[in-house]
């Protein structure tokens, strides 16, 4: 008898406990202060991951036989705006990459100009925040070469990548700091697996920033803006998904 009672109490307390735990977690999850506390772990991730290695450590590179049979596309599959569609129709011959903001020599690069510069080809693994991975071969201009030409001002701390696509009515954008900007594997890619980057993967130009998750790799890039702070771009969190979906700005894990 006593055992029955205690078992029943145990089960009801357990169920009640689990129930309040769950709704408690949801309430906490929606609370901004608590979000900030949880977010502090992400700052720790950033500090530790940047402290390990020599900060310019290369992401793993693979060989042709490791390629994914199909490189999965995610997010925007086709920007579909009149301008973009018209440009795509003529092979992006009129595409311009505009370097603006805190540069000593702001300038534009046509796709042809980018193609005539030294290139880097790398076979790397693309890791999506959702959990899947795809291996692809990317060819592009090292971002460092563009920065050397346009010359950052001393006050510049971040690069913002403006894109031709919109998601949910907002322009897509992303940003990285200068450590990643000058990293040897950070390239403005225009070829995937030996062919022009397909539209669904970000034609004609997408960022590769190999040590971070997929949403950092801005597609359809039209401009690179050098800024001192991210506060005045979008909602100030440094990227489309950071603003809209609360993803972390530093996407190293």
């Amino acid at each position: 008898m006593r055992k029955m009672l205690s078992r029943r109490t145990l089960i009801t307390t357990g169920a009640l406990g689990a129930g309040s735990l769950l709704s408690g977690c949801d309430a906490l999850s929606r609370n901004q202060t608590f979000q900030n506390i949880l977010g502090s772990a992400e700052d720790a991730n950033f500090l530790v991951q940047r402290a390990l290695g020599d900060r310019m450590e290369l992401a793993s590179e693979y060989s042709i036989k490791d390629l994914s049979p199909k490189f999965r596309a995610n997010g925007t599959r086709d920007p579909g705006t009149p301008d973009y569609t018209a440009s795509a129709a003529q092979g992006f011959a009129d595409w311009q990459l505009r370097l603006t903001g805190l540069f000593k020599k702001p300038q534009n690069f046509s796709l042809a100009a980018l193609l005539s510069m030294p290139q880097r080809t790398q076979i790397t693994r693309h890791d999506c925040v959702e959990g899947w991975s795809a291996i692809g071969q990317w060819t592009g201009v090292p971002l460092k070469l563009l920065l050397d030409l346009a010359q950052l001002q001393d006050s510049a701390k971040f690069l913002v990548f403006h894109c031709a696509d919109r998601l949910g009515g907002r322009p897509y954008y992303e940003s990285i700091d200068l450590l990643d900007a000058f990293h040897p594997q950070t390239i403005m890619a225009h070829r995937l697996n030996g062919e022009s980057v397909p539209i669904e993967n970000g034609a004609p130009l997408r960022l590769r920033v190999e040590r971070q998750l997929g949403y950092k790799h801005a597609k359809y890039v039209t401009g690179i803006e050098a800024v001192a702070t991210l506060d005045n771009i979008g909602e100030g969190k440094g990227g489309y998904w950071e603003d809209v979906g609360n993803y972390e700005w530093y996407a190293g894990i």
């Binding site: 769950l22 709704s23 979000q35 977010g39 502090s40 991951q49 290695g53 450590e57 609360n246 894990i253």
Partner: protein, 270 residues
Amino acid sequence: MIKSQNNTAKRHKLTTRLWHWVNALCLLVLVMSGLTIFNAHPRLYWGEYGASDDYAWAAVGSSQTLGYVRLGETKIETTGFVGNWRDSNGQIQTWAFPGWATIPSYYSLAEGRRWHFFFAWIFSVGLAFFMIRSLFNRHVQKDLHISRAEWRPSSIWRDVRNHLRLRFHEVSSVNIYNILQKFSYVGVIFILLPLMIFTGLAMSPAMDANWPWLTDIFGGRQSARSIHFIGMSLLLLFFIVHMITLLLAGPFKQTWAMITGGKREDSDHA
């Protein structure tokens, strides 16, 4: 020595108890927030890469009418539970794991990840602290070390038989844990839990640049993700067995002992 009335006569040391409960909370949050993360892409692969067009060795399938889990070529229908379930408003949801099993209970990958990584830090620091502490205060050597006599098949077999007869109290006065307990505790603390940390780190693209050997050890990022998930399943299994033995061995007394420390002598036979 065991019977002496100094404070080492407690059944569980303070560090063991503290760690046990902090760890229990961490694991609960890590499993539930992990399931939120899993829901973002409920497919598991072997090797470096793996995405929707590649073959998944395990996957959850869902539609408005059907939920199923596919393991290899075997489909197991899970409608109402996994892949197709009703939320608290009675609406059909087609995320893999149901709201009662995830943190938060609604789908938010960003929030699930924040919970996961925050508790991953507490869990990892706690585990490291507990391991070092248990070596120094001789918890491992005294309570978890498996003696040569215990390794004998006959003594293992005797313990198995005792378990099957649901007799848990054949504890010698020196040992607070029997051999099957020792196997599972050592296996979980020194193999499974560290494995969760290392497979977790192996999935990070930044760690992959820092320590490429870590991802390689597990055979690639998607393998690390699969092993991370299998590890979680083994932990759940351990938890279930842990709860069953707890219920059979006397839930209140045992839980109380894990809170207050309890007594080292086996007073059940008194």
